[in-house]
């Protein structure tokens, strides 16, 4: 879990300095959030272009980076342009992978393949469910912070997470593996 709290605001950092320093990290965040390289690019481009226009206001925020990351999250959640076509395509491709996964006992030595397969399964989630998992397990935010970011209650966050994990069948796979390990 994260333990770092607010660091002192660096004053006088220009948009260009900010973007140059943080763009790679923002892109990684967007790739994980969207699950789609091209969508991640579109989202980050759109967000940074708007952030540039109102940078003076953003740079006055307690945490400009948190502000921009929130913009990325919101942009992803409300993104419409070309999203549907891409998502349907991606999910369609990945459903085959999902089928391959069902019922299999996982080998720890095959962890990379497992991680890759799980990444593909993540594409079957709704945007909010995926966002909750990314914020909870990638960004390592508390449910309270996630609720604040998504503008919902903590109970809703837990509900999204629970449904997402159920969809991913992580619990059952975990149990299957434990069972297999106990038997061996």
């Amino acid at each position: 879990m994260h333990n770092a709290r607010t660091k002192p605001v660096i004053e006088g950092v220009t948009f260009e300095q900010f973007a140059t320093a943080r763009l790679p990290a923002l892109l990684r965040y967007a790739v994980v959030l969207t699950g789609d390289r091209e969508l991640a690019q579109d989202v980050v481009q759109e967000v940074l272009a708007r952030a540039h226009v109102k940078w003076r206001r953003i740079s006055d925020a307690d945490s400009p980076e948190a502000y921009v990351r929130r913009m990325v999250l919101n942009e992803y959640l409300s993104w419409r342009r070309s999203w549907a076509a891409r998502n349907v395509h991606a999910v369609g491709e990945r459903l085959a992978d999902l089928d391959d996964l069902r019922g299999g006992v996982h080998d720890h030595a095959d962890s990379v393949v497992e991680a890759d397969a799980l990444w593909n399964k993540l594409a079957t989630l709704g945007r909010k469910q995926r966002a909750v998992l990314v914020l909870r397990y990638y960004e390592q935010l508390e449910d309270e912070q996630i609720a604040d970011l998504l503008g919902c209650s903590q109970a809703t966050v837990r509900s999204h997470a629970s449904r997402a994990l159920k969809t991913l069948r992580l619990s059952s796979e975990h149990q299957t593996r434990k069972f297999a390990e106990e038997k061996s």
């Binding site: 879990m1 994260h2 770092a4 709290r5 660091k7 605001v9 660096i10 950092v13 220009t14 260009e16 300095q17 140059t20 320093a21 943080r22 763009l23 790679p24 990290a25 892109l27 990684r28 790739v31 994980v32 699950g35 390289r37 091209e38 991640a40 690019q41 481009q45 940074l48 272009a49 708007r50 540039h52 226009v53 109102k54 307690d62 945490s63 400009p64 980076e65 948190a66 929130r70 913009m71 919101n74 409300s78 993104w79 419409r80 342009r81 962890s111 990379v112 991680a115 799980l118 990444w119 993540l122 990314v134 397990y137 990638y138 960004e139 935010l141 912070q145 503008g151 994990l165 992580l170």
Partner: protein, 223 residues
Amino acid sequence: MNDHGDQLRAAFQTRENETPDPAAVFQRVTELSRTYKRRRRGLQVTGGAVLGAGLIAGAFQLPGIIPASHNSNSSMVAPAGPGLSPAPSFSPTPSASPTPEESPASSAEDKARDAFFEAGYGYDEAVTLAKHWKISTEDIGEAKVKAGELILAHKKLPAGVKPDPAVAESMKNEKYAEAFFNAGYDFGDAAKLADTWNLKDSYDAKVMGGKKILAGEPMPFQP
């Protein structure tokens, strides 16, 4: 960390570095923000270098002046994920550096580029056109501008490229959404307006808000 947390982190790590080229993204950001700024100022573009050479030079030393943090809520810096890959820096390409002052020519280019996108054309069509005109795909922006100029002159584009009506419609909505943001409203405002107007989501609110703003109609509240 629990078991599924570990599994998910591993899954995120497998793909987190499959990012687009930051330099190319930055170049597009500068293009887009120039357009947004120009629209915001109503074509009255003054001064305002988008990216000065000095700033680029200074950016290489940023890791030293901006502290790293593992928390996205911290100020200025948050790596992609705690314990995950460190953030590599990138260096913007020279083409990402606009001229110190935006000239009437660059404004005309922006207008042409906008016309290209707003007509429903995109990157793929620009690539086709670039090949047709024997323009290097590294100068794809040149093809967009040239095509945009033809569109503004009501001329047909060569090479059989066709606009996508859905993209054109989408671009129109993007313009409304852009007007919404340019008026000073943000995502939180859009969420409130979606509730007020009983719309499905905040995007619809951005579009409706933008339409009202451009039509000079009153908004429920000020940004």
